[in-house]
Symmetry: C2
Subunit: 489 residues, 2 copies
Amino acid sequence: MTSRTSVAAVPSVPRKVLTEGSGVNKSIAAIEYAVRGELVLRAEALAKQLPSVDLPFDKIVYCNIGNPQSVGQSPITFVRQVLAGVTCPSLLQPESGNVFPSDVVKRVTDVLAASHGVGAYSESKGIRFIRERVANALQARDDGVPANPDNIYLTNGASEAVKTILSMLVRDHNDGVLIPIPQYPLYSAAMTAFGGTQVGYYLDEENGWSLNMDELETRLSDARAKGITVRAIVIINPGNPTGQVLSRTNMEDVVAFCEREKLVILADEVYQKNVYIPEKPFISFKKVTHEMGADVELASFHSVSKGVMGECGLRGGYMEVVNMDRYIQELIYKVLSVSLCSNIIGQVAIDLMMTPPQPGEPSYELYNKEVDEIYGALKRKAIAMSDGLNTFEGVTCNRSEGAMYLFPRITIPPAAVKAAAARGMASADVLYCIEMLEATGICVVPGSGFLQKDGTYHFRTTFLPPEKEIRNVITSMRRFHEQFMAKYS
Amino acid sequence: MTSRTSVAAVPSVPRKVLTEGSGVNKSIAAIEYAVRGELVLRAEALAKQLPSVDLPFDKIVYCNIGNPQSVGQSPITFVRQVLAGVTCPSLLQPESGNVFPSDVVKRVTDVLAASHGVGAYSESKGIRFIRERVANALQARDDGVPANPDNIYLTNGASEAVKTILSMLVRDHNDGVLIPIPQYPLYSAAMTAFGGTQVGYYLDEENGWSLNMDELETRLSDARAKGITVRAIVIINPGNPTGQVLSRTNMEDVVAFCEREKLVILADEVYQKNVYIPEKPFISFKKVTHEMGADVELASFHSVSKGVMGECGLRGGYMEVVNMDRYIQELIYKVLSVSLCSNIIGQVAIDLMMTPPQPGEPSYELYNKEVDEIYGALKRKAIAMSDGLNTFEGVTCNRSEGAMYLFPRITIPPAAVKAAAARGMASADVLYCIEMLEATGICVVPGSGFLQKDGTYHFRTTFLPPEKEIRNVITSMRRFHEQFMAKYS
């Protein structure tokens, strides 16, 4: 009734339309997103003080977000050359002095021939030529399981695809989606925004964050007993923030469960190239469902932000849907068409990620050298950091089998729990992370931002800082941890 | 109840979760977006047939969407050089043979120094350095009216910004937003998706699509009488699809109205550089509200997709908010942070649009030559096309004072109205546009897709095809129009 009452408002008492509380959509207001939350804002404030104020550290080390190039990872030469070429085709002219290798020129020419360039809207689903190439690459990845370009939607990062499909799945607050705990907060944020019900299932920390079928069964029947219509399950594989990689058997159990219970599988597979243990290779949910002949609806999400490219700023992503109703696919098209299309450079980056230089091509050697360096460093840093954390008193940390994160469990003394409560913090790990930031400049995210078992405390840290810095990060974390334990014991 | 009943489902009777009707969110299903709708899908189908099937035209002429580079407009050299440079900084090395002018190198170096490059997520609001430069440019545009970088949000095109603010404004179906008729369907689509109420106000076709204050007053009180809480008004200036430019007096009336009635002003100003008549220069709503000292909340949207750059595929946009509650600004940040940030190349493009080369800089001359060519051609094509359409029997077309579109009114014979109804078409102008497409290959959008006065018929066409083609477009349209009138008379 804002408007009607405000007609009578005295001009000298200005009132706003958009205000906290009753003046704004409550679902939007309820969104939480810890990865860019309190800790980060505090870190940015400290970063501004650094030049003037005397702080116990000389820079902020951002371990709060999987943003490799912000902490020193270099982009891959081939990728940037092709993107520069499609952006400024005059660079391909001889008078520009042949700055690019011939395979880069070929890739640029092919994209430009099959599109109106990076400055024109494409089809709402993305440039068809690129979707066809993505389909071919997926077919190769999945040992011949057929892929159809019509089932591929190119989006601004994977986030846009996830939000699109969830907005269609959630009809009202009685609709639920199974979401892992801990989870990546995009899922909780989107469910909150769309007014649906999050049905949490706990990953088994004691068993390397594995996915336990009894747990799924229990959470599903509990939710149904409460009158919730569970429509889908989110599975993040490799896990974020937990870093576990699912085994084929585990995936088959999940698929059978989803087919039996009629749940859409939302497979967040953006870390499929970030797997660090040979005994557990990445397998796509699409391959498993296909080979099982399962009648289950599936959406798989991927992105150029992760993997070894780490091109977060390009916002390139895609969603492949399997076994979706034709009407639903037309509806996805319609929803995406309201934003016209995803950014074209991100679309091209998806093509480069899915189809890298091939043996014999001029860029092949350098490309592989760069990829191997990045991958090797990620693997070494993952191990160094989990090994380091496991030496801290009262800290246990599962090894990262994949992704870019560790999610160590910390023991927090009762005095610290009290102190956090007294400061009105959501959880004692917020206090832990704030004090870590203020003592060391290292910015991590409290476990409570990803959800966790009551009474347990964690934080999520990336292992992305440069190799030469990782040792110092671990040392500073250890020194802080000891001080924190001493202070509150 | 899908899930619960499906537990009992016989495996041999596969059922899907996401289905038409009760199986999908009904607000999302109700979205309509004509610009990428039925006509375009038909056009794409015809384009596929062209090589094999004998059709009365040799190509599709896409006049359905403001996508200049898809119909031959060239990108601006300076813009693409800077974007290529930030994408592939090695091009700045001497060994790459100084391919870029020195001011391009300077722009690239400055952006890279102030960011982590195009491959890293930026702050959720966008790179601060760019927001500061945008603020300076806005201050210059508005003759010194202060602009604050903290009030600027860089987004993936303007669409993302519009959807973000509407999602916060609409609390439930009783909340309404005043939206022009005809309108750009992003607004109706977003209102439908968020479950709010569109309160249409008619632009006055007889008076050059002007905005009539009595009409606003009437629509507002009618809506309130129905129990609708009207929270905001959308104003598209220059207009889309109507092309009118608001006069200062008209804007002042609107601002006073919004202040009195406590309505947020959503100012779609993406065509601010597309004004073709000297007597009506573009004036920003921010400047008018500031100079009136009005206490009104305002959000202004802009984009790199229009203007003379026409860089639709880059998806660069921004929103500047004025007089917004601090909490609301933090909430906008939180909503955007769930998608992490907008694509960085689009962010850089916004900087280039707002701060072009300056006199004395090496790129200045070529930049202005290219801009003048594009602008001059747009202006000539706008006039040629409205003049042409006005010679058609039973067609009246207001001149385009701005933007990229014409919205001619057509007289449709009763027989055609019957035929359209018999084919279950939403409006007789759908039949008109489909038959135009099939006869000429010219793809325009039915007026019904933008809403219009009952019993009136229109279509929206761009005037973007190359100058040498415009004559043919007009000739083909006329020939079709005569055939259509003859066929149904």
